[in-house]
């Protein structure tokens, strides 16, 4: 169940292993390398942020993890099994909420259950998921009636209703205004703590990465390879003014070659 307390089953997330993953795009017959031998190990229930300059290939990596595309070379495994196709245990929340405009919020959230034929038996989960993201009163609203933050919350509920073992977040807060963004960062942490999934977050916001993640992977320019790995052991809830986070921020910026402005 979505809203079940994490104490029932403390570690419900899945592991993720990337081995020497390479990926190229085909650009008018020329191979354009995007990912350059990425290896990464993510443990159960971990919150890992992938940070890098925009256009470096982070989102491509997420599509591979989701099973939407296959890598040119290398392998991706979850729970020791190769990722070959999309699976509802690995759900993506994209930067754009992409709710279906012809469905109400309720039916948008119901999408995954409907697609798998579980709507009849697991109906109650939809209400739970809506409550979890604070959209209880908006079940019958259409997407065009929602604000940006509410739409992204609905997209989050649509993912969570499937009880994912791995939640893939592709700059989910990138289009929100800064105040909504701060609120939703806090909500994301508490959702993750309660539900116990493994979270993989792509972002280009250093503070967001440090506020949310236990580990920050810094990527280079395209073709992306892993430049650095920064462990952030600060307990949750974290505080934005924490001097330790400021120190980590300095380190991350240095890896990105942006520390001159510090």
């Amino acid at each position: 169940m979505v809203a079940a307390p994490a104490s029932d089953d403390p570690v419900r997330g899945s592991t993720l292993t990337l081995r020497e993953v390479r990926h190229c795009f085909d650009l008018e017959g020329q191979p354009l390398p995007v990912l350059d031998r990425i290896s990464l190990q993510v443990g159960r229930g971990e919150f890992v942020a992938l940070l890098g300059p925009s256009g470096c290939g982070k989102s491509t990596l997420l599509r591979l993890v989701a099973g939407l595309d296959a890598p040119t070379d290398g392998s991706l495994l979850t729970e020791g099994r190769e990722i070959e196709s999309p699976d509802p245990s690995r759900v993506v929340v994209f930067q754009d909420p992409t709710l279906y405009p012809w469905r109400t919020v309720w039916s948008n959230v119901a999408l995954g259950l409907e697609a798998r034929g579980l709507l009849r038996t697991h109906r109650g989960r939809i209400e739970d998921a809506l409550r979890l993201v604070g959209l209880t009163g908006f079940a019958n609203a259409y997407p065009h009636q929602l604000s940006g933050g509410m739409a992204q919350r609905a997209a989050l509920a649509r993912a969570l209703v499937n009880d994912p073992k791995l939640l893939i977040l592709d700059e989910p807060l990138g289009q929100l205004d800064s105040l909504t963004r701060i609120t939703m960062q806090g909500e994301l942490v508490s959702l993750w703590q309660r539900a116990g999934f493994t979270a993989l977050l792509v972002t280009h916001d250093v503070e967001e990465a440090l506020f949310l993640a236990g580990r920050v992977i810094v990527f280079s320019q395209r073709p992306a390879h892993i430049k650095a790995e920064i462990v952030n052991a600060r307990p949750y809830p974290r505080h934005r003014g924490d001097p330790h986070l400021a120190e980590l921020r300095h380190q991350v910026l240095a890896h990105l070659g942006l520390d001159a402005t510090w």
Partner: protein, 338 residues
Amino acid sequence: MSAVVDEVSRPQKPGFGFFARPATRSLVGGLASATAWFVAAALTAFWPDKIESDWAYTGSLAAACGALAVALALAAFASVRFTVFRRFQRLSPWLFVLALFLAAWEVVTAKLGLLPLPFFPPPQAIVEVVIDDWGRLAAGIFASARLLATGYFLGAAVGFVTGVAIGWSRLAGYWIHPVLRFIGPLPATAWLPLAFFVFPSSFSASIFLIALATGFPVTVLTWSGVAGVNSAYYDIARTLGATQRFLVLKVAIPAAMPHVFVGLFMGLGNSFAVLVVAEMLGVKAGLGWYLQWAQGWAAYANMYAALLLMAFLCSGLITLLFRLRDRLLSWQKGLVRW
């Protein structure tokens, strides 16, 4: 909350005190149109028709105009007390102008005989046709509606399925697209001579032609709707465990529906044109045939009556289609009003 904006509220201009009150405006507007209809009635009744003509229904036309005038006047007075009647206020200018048009038509035809007969009959001649020949007209409407409905639904259904197939499947696209490109732009009426000897009856031939005229725009628009679906919609559904069937039925088709309705609208327009041509040239029934028949007998009043009924039929069907769309696509913002 309705996504359809009913009446765009425009800023009210500062009025002239008393006249700006809605009750007053409604009363004055209603009485003005009532007066116009009353004038039309009086003109018809008391100005004798031109000597050598004998229009049987001059009195009835006058009575009908008079009755409308009384009804409008009553509605105008009622609107002072009951706001329900103020809705008619919007129609007042149109009713006023229509009364003037009718009066002018009456004067230049029945009263002064300025327009040549039998090409320009007076309004009472059309009333006469509708009353005396309603049996044949009703049969015509029924025949036309049956032919149109059969052909249109067949064409729309085949067009829809074909459009989804081309939009979805590469194989279907490879084989159907060139045929569509080559044959689609050909006006359906060009098939008419062929269709009339290939098909066993002119009725089935006409169904084929109407279906063809409807099917082409429905196919193309459905196809473009399906092909234009945001690929992120598919990504979302796939990561949530959707099957191919689910992607077609629950993602591609609903997302394409706004395009499909444009196709259905265009197809309906095409089907009217083919219907009338088919009825004029082959089918021995329907309003198109009636038009042709009336013209053959120089019965121009009958022709005008048939034209008028045809306009009601076509406009009514388009309205029906738009109502259906408004219902099904209420999730869309900023729909075009019909």
